[in-house]
Each structure stands twice: as structure tokens, then as C-alpha cells.
């Protein structure tokens, strides 16, 4: 067990180093990065000054090591548009993004199981057909367009759900203000429904297909036949014998899922004017605020990598077949 943990930890460190290297290369690839930090009307002296101040006159390997040292301390420099440390701004927007991602993930996993199971049980019938058609459709719809359509229909036409905004839950919770956090919670969820569904729909569709196919495979196994022949109710056979194995592939995907959802969140937050990292990145892109883009991307990547590590470790614990 310990060797596995140590090996996995080392791997994650290497990957995080890789991420910083890629983001460093991204900065250099367009030529002298100084020009990203100065206005178009800057004079040659100003450019030279900025270049020296940001260390772009140093040899590349020195630049990378300096960059790495700064990143390790959470220092990405000041955001060009906010004039504040980029890291602070990113951390301020992080809780809202985490709320949205977790909500979407729950939605994508919890609903996928009944859909997949029903489709498998009623294989070849209209139930199966409609669930699978829906899933095929779900994998072909751009999430931001789905978001826009839901805004038009549920938000503007029916007027049922709010089309933008966010009520914080995690932020007060982290500050220790439990009363505010939990009085906010119903409103938080209410505001999360539209963006959450838009982010999750693709994953929901993919997971439902995954559950269906692994359920079909499991239902054909001997132990399911044995359970049936023992006269156990069909419900018990499905929940206790079949489902338990059928949803393992979904568990395996949870880590990757999170990263995938984070990618979707970036776009969806823009659609719903949701105050998270995604909208931050979008605005930073439009203002070419490089430090802010880099800080956001690296923070999200590190979260993703750490989560994958945690999922792997947990998975190794719950599935006895994983040899350590």
C-alpha cells in the first residue's frame, strides 16, 4: 500500500511539474513574452524596463526556475486588469466554481445509474430506445448551446428558473458562518440548476450509456443467474448483485469526470454570468490578462491532478481487485 501511495504521489508531482513547464512554454511560444505585458503604445525604454523587471532578459532555464519558485509560493504576479495578485482573485472565485462542479457531478452520476439500469433491463424496448436516443443527443449538444436554450425556455419563456447569478454557500461555510451558509443553501441550489444541468448533460449521457453496457454484461454473468435461481426478488438481484458491479466503471471515471466537467464549467459560467473561475478566465482572455489566465489554469489543473490522486487511492481501497 505505501509503495503505491508513494509512487502515485511522485507521479503527481512530476505531472504538476509538467503542467508548469507547459504553461511556461505556452508563454514563450509566441516570441518575446514582454509584449504580452506592455501596452501597444509603450516606448522602447518602457518595454526594456518591463522586460528587466519581469526577468525576461534572463536565460530560459533561469527564467523557468524563477517561474517555478514563484508558482510554488502561489505567486503568479499581479493581474494586469485588477492590479491585485492573480492568485488572490482566483482563490476568491474558486468556491463558486467548486459548487457548480460538485452539483453537476452529482447530477451526472446519480441520474445516470437509474437511466442506465432501466435501459439495460428493458433492452430493445421503447424505454431503452428513448433513453439511448436522449443519450446520443446529449453527447452531440454543445453544453453552452444547451445552456442558452434552457435560458430561453425555462428562464425567459416559462420564467421558472433564474438565468444568472449565484448565492454563495461554500464561502460563508469556509469562513465559519454556518447560519448564513445553510440558510443560503436552498437558494444556492435553485441558482445552480440551469448551469449545473447544462454542464452535466454530456457526462450524464455518457455515464448512462456506460452503466447500460456494463449492466448488460453483468446481467449475463453466472452469479446473477445463481441469484435468480435462488428465488431472490428481481429487485434484490439488480440492486445487490448486478448494480454493485455494474457501476464500477462509473466510479473509475469520477476523477476524469471532474476534469471534464471543469472544462465545461469554464464555458458555462460565461453563459450564465456565474461568478467563478470560468468567467474569470473568459474576461482575462478578452483583456489578455496573462497572469490571471495562467493562475486560473494552473490552479484548476492542480485541483484536477490532486483529485485524480485521491480517487485512485480511494479506489484502490474499495476495490480489492486492484493489486497494490
Amino acid at each position: 500500500m505505501w509503495t503505491f501511495i508513494v509512487r502515485r504521489l511522485l507521479q503527481s508531482v512530476i505531472v504538476i511539474l509538467g503542467v508548469t513547464l507547459i504553461s511556461f512554454i505556452a508563454l514563450q511560444i509566441g516570441g518575446d513574452p514582454t509584449y504580452l505585458f506592455v501596452s501597444e503604445r509603450a516606448t522602447d525604454e518602457e518595454i526594456a524596463m518591463v522586460r528587466r523587471a519581469l526577468g525576461f532578459d534572463q536565460p530560459l532555464h533561469i527564467q523557468y526556475l524563477t517561474y517555478l519558485g514563484n508558482v510554488a509560493q502561489g505567486d503568479f504576479g499581479n493581474s494586469l486588469s485588477y492590479r491585485q495578485p492573480a492568485m488572490e482573485i482566483v482563490l476568491g472565485a474558486l468556491p463558486a466554481t467548486i459548487e457548480l462542479t460538485i452539483f453537476a457531478m452529482l447530477f451526472a452520476i446519480v441520474l445516470a445509474i437509474p437511466f442506465g439500469v432501466f435501459a439495460a433491463l428493458y433492452r430493445g424496448t421503447a424505454v431503452d430506445g428513448s433513453i439511448m436516443t436522449m443519450a446520443m443527443f446529449g453527447q452531440s449538444v454543445p453544453n453552452f448551446w444547451l445552456g442558452i436554450m434552457m435560458i430561453l425556455f425555462f428562464g425567459l419563456y416559462l420564467g421558472w428558473l433564474p438565468i444568472s447569478g449565484h448565492v454563495p454557500f461554500l464561502m460563508p461555510l469556509l469562513r465559519g458562518d454556518f447560519v448564513t451558509a445553510f440558510t443560503n443553501l436552498p437558494q444556492t441550489i435553485y441558482y445552480l440548476i440551469l448551469p449545473g444541468v447544462a454542464v452535466a448533460f454530456y457526462s450524464l449521457s455518457r455515464n448512462a450509456r456506460l452503466v447500460r453496457s456494463s449492466m448488460l454484461e453483468v446481467l449475463g454473468q453466472d452469479y446473477v443467474r445463481t441469484a435468480r435461481s435462488k428465488g431472490i426478488s428481481e429487485y434484490a438481484v439488480i440492486t445487490h448483485h448486478a448494480l454493485r458491479n455494474a457501476w464500477l466503471p462509473v466510479v473509475t471515471m469520477i476523477g476524469l469526470e471532474f476534469g471534464f466537467l471543469l472544462g465545461g464549467v469554464v464555458v458555462i459560467e460565461t453563459v450564465f454570468s456565474y461568478p467563478g473561475i470560468g468567467r474569470l478566465v473568459f474576461n482575462a482572455i478578452n483583456q489578455r490578462d496573462i497572469p490571471l489566465v495562467q493562475a486560473s489554469v494552473i490552479v484548476l489543473s492542480v485541483i484536477f491532478i490532486v483529485l485524480n490522486l485521491v480517487v485512485d487511492l480511494v479506489y484502490a481501497r474499495i476495490d480489492p481487485r486492484v493489486k497494490l
Binding site: 503542467v19 439511448m132 454543445p142 453552452f144 430561453l152 471543469l262 478566465v281 482572455i285
Partner: protein, 308 residues
């Protein structure tokens, strides 16, 4: 012998020719039986025609602004007796014409990115799988690092620095896909490299390059086409998302993603046609690629069909 030919083991023989025709017939029959793939193929054919002949089909100049006729509803009268079949946007440009021009970028970027990613991934996978050892380690670890990074974030970071543009978009999307191809090709190569026909080629004194590209590669083409067709779908989605974020092609080139981005400002005013039509275009195209991919997978590997 016929079996071998269908595996692409013999290079060129009369049997192969007739076999190819038989396979083609089988494919057409299976496609017609499944119904949906036929429809998908028709849709893709239409998109392709629109992408090639868009300028001839478009009723109006997609970039011609007309402030007097802005935000016209679908079917409204346009300039000089023309009709805005799908309405006009905030600058008075014809939505239908922009939609027809947009097909170009989506298909061009989608297909080219697949070629870039597929080519890099296939070569990397062949080399890694055939030689193994350190070179294999290097490629696969690189792939791991890349996959540990949510793709859209990677694309955002590079495009912000490189600036928008068709070539940059194709490169970034293509490089984003290579790992998928490399992994599959590597796994196939690993098992193929021990097969007798590869050993035979080696014994005949074929060069390593020839063994890799002439003996092994043709046997990997089938799974590659399946991944590619699903991949086109996800690359088109990614392109739309990046265009939506303003990282796609320059603003004067109409794309479905950037049309959706522009529609956002008119949502509250309920100008639904600006959002509905470009979105439908994306959905139809991507859905068709997915349906073809699904069918192709079942057709090339019938064992998978059982599992849905």
C-alpha cells in the same frame, strides 16, 4: 486466403479487389439495416456540399452589415427584395448566409485537426509500440502528463498567447488529440509485432521503416477510423466552445461558435433565432458523426454490439 486478404495482409491481389467489393456491399447492407447511419450520411453530405459551395448558395454577403435591418425576424424582408430566411443579427447580417459560411470552418478545423492529431499519435504509437523501452516510456509519460491536464484549459492557454486563427486552432486541437491515437496504436503494435507475418517480413530483410509502415500500419487502420469519426465530433464541439470564448478564428470569419457567442447579448431581448439555428447546425453535424462512429464500431467489431 480470403480471410487473410480481408485483414489486409496481402498487398495486392485479385482476391483483395473482390473482397473489397464484398466488404463494401456488406457495409452498405448493414448501414441500410441500421437506418440512422444513412440519414447521418445524408446530413454530412449536405454539410460537406454547403462547406464547399457555401459562397454560391448563400443568398447574401455574410459580412454585409445593414443597420437599418438589424435583428429582423426569420422570413422578414431583407435588402433589395431578398428574404432573411433565418433572420438577421445585431449588425443586420443575414443569419442563413453566415450559417452556410460557418460550415466551412467547422468541417475544415474538425477534419484537419484529426489529421494532425492522428498523424502525430499514429507515428508516436507505432514507434513506442515497436521499439518499446525508453522511447516508449518517454512518449507514454508525455501522454499521461497531457491527459492530466483538462484539455480545454491547455487549448485556452496556448491560444491566448498564440492568438486566434485557423492554423493555430487546428494545431492546438490536433495536438490535444494525439494521445488517444498513440495509446491505441501502441497497444495494437505491441501485439502485432510478435505476429508471424511481421517476423516473416523481418526475416525477408525488410527495413524497419517498411515493417512499421507497410506491414503493421495497414492492420491498425480499422480501429483508427472508428476513433477518428468520434473524434471529429468532439473536435467540432471543442472548436465551437473555443470560438464561443473568442479564441477561434478572427471575428470577421463567421463560425457557428462565434455566432452563438454574439447571440448571447440578444438573449434577454428574446432574439431566439440568433441562438437556435447555429446551435442546431452544430448538433446535427456532431450527431451525424457520432451516429456514423457508433455504426462503424459495431460494423468493424460485431462483438461490441452485444454490449451496446
Amino acid at each position: 486466403m480470403t480471410d487473410m486478404a480481408s485483414d489486409g495482409l496481402t498487398t495486392l491481389s485479385p482476391q483483395r479487389e473482390s473482397n473489397f467489393r464484398r466488404e463494401l456491399k456488406r457495409a452498405v447492407r448493414s448501414m441500410v439495416a441500421a437506418k440512422w447511419p444513412v440519414l447521418a450520411l445524408v446530413v454530412l453530405g449536405a454539410v460537406l456540399i454547403v462547406a464547399i459551395f457555401g459562397p454560391l448558395l448563400a443568398p447574401l454577403d455574410p459580412n454585409r452589415q445593414n443597420i437599418m435591418l438589424r435583428l429582423a425576424e426569420p422570413m422578414a424582408e431583407g435588402p433589395r427584395g431578398a428574404t432573411f430566411w433565418l433572420g438577421s443579427d445585431a449588425l443586420g447580417r443575414d443569419v442563413l448566409s453566415r450559417l452556410l459560411y460557418g460550415a466551412r470552418i467547422s468541417l475544415l478545423v474538425g477534419v484537419c485537426a484529426i489529421f494532425v492529431g492522428g498523424a502525430i499519435g499514429t507515428v508516436a504509437g507505432l514507434v513506442a509500440g515497436y521499439f518499446g523501452g525508453r522511447i516508449d516510456d518517454v512518449f507514454m509519460r508525455l501522454g499521461d502528463i497531457q491527459l492530466a491536464f483538462p484539455f480545454i484549459l491547455l487549448a485556452i492557454m496556448f491560444l491566448v498567447v498564440l492568438g486566434p486563427g485557423v492554423v493555430n486552432l487546428i494545431l492546438v486541437l490536433g495536438i490535444g488529440q494525439w494521445v488517444t491515437y498513440a495509446r491505441i496504436v501502441r497497444a495494437q503494435t505491441l501485439s502485432l509485432r510478435e505476429k508471424e507475418f511481421v517476423e516473416a517480413a523481418r526475416a525477408l530483410g525488410d527495413s524497419t521503416t517498411s515493417i512499421i509502415f507497410r506491414t503493421i500500419l495497414p492492420n491498425i487502420v480499422a480501429p483508427l477510423t472508428v476513433i477518428a469519426s468520434f473524434n471529429v465530433a468532439s473536435v467540432i464541439l471543442a472548436e465551437a466552445a473555443l470560438s464561443f470564448l473568442g479564441l477561434g478564428v478572427p471575428p470577421e470569419v463567421p463560425t457557428w461558435g462565434s455566432m452563438l457567442a454574439e447571440s448571447r447579448e440578444q438573449l434577454i431581448a428574446n432574439k431566439w433565432w440568433l441562438a437556435v439555428f447555429p446551435g442546431l447546425a452544430i448538433v446535427l453535424t456532431v450527431l451525424s458523426f457520432n451516429i456514423i462512429g457508433d455504426w462503424l464500431r459495431d460494423f468493424l467489431d460485431p462483438r461490441l454490439k452485444e454490449r451496446g
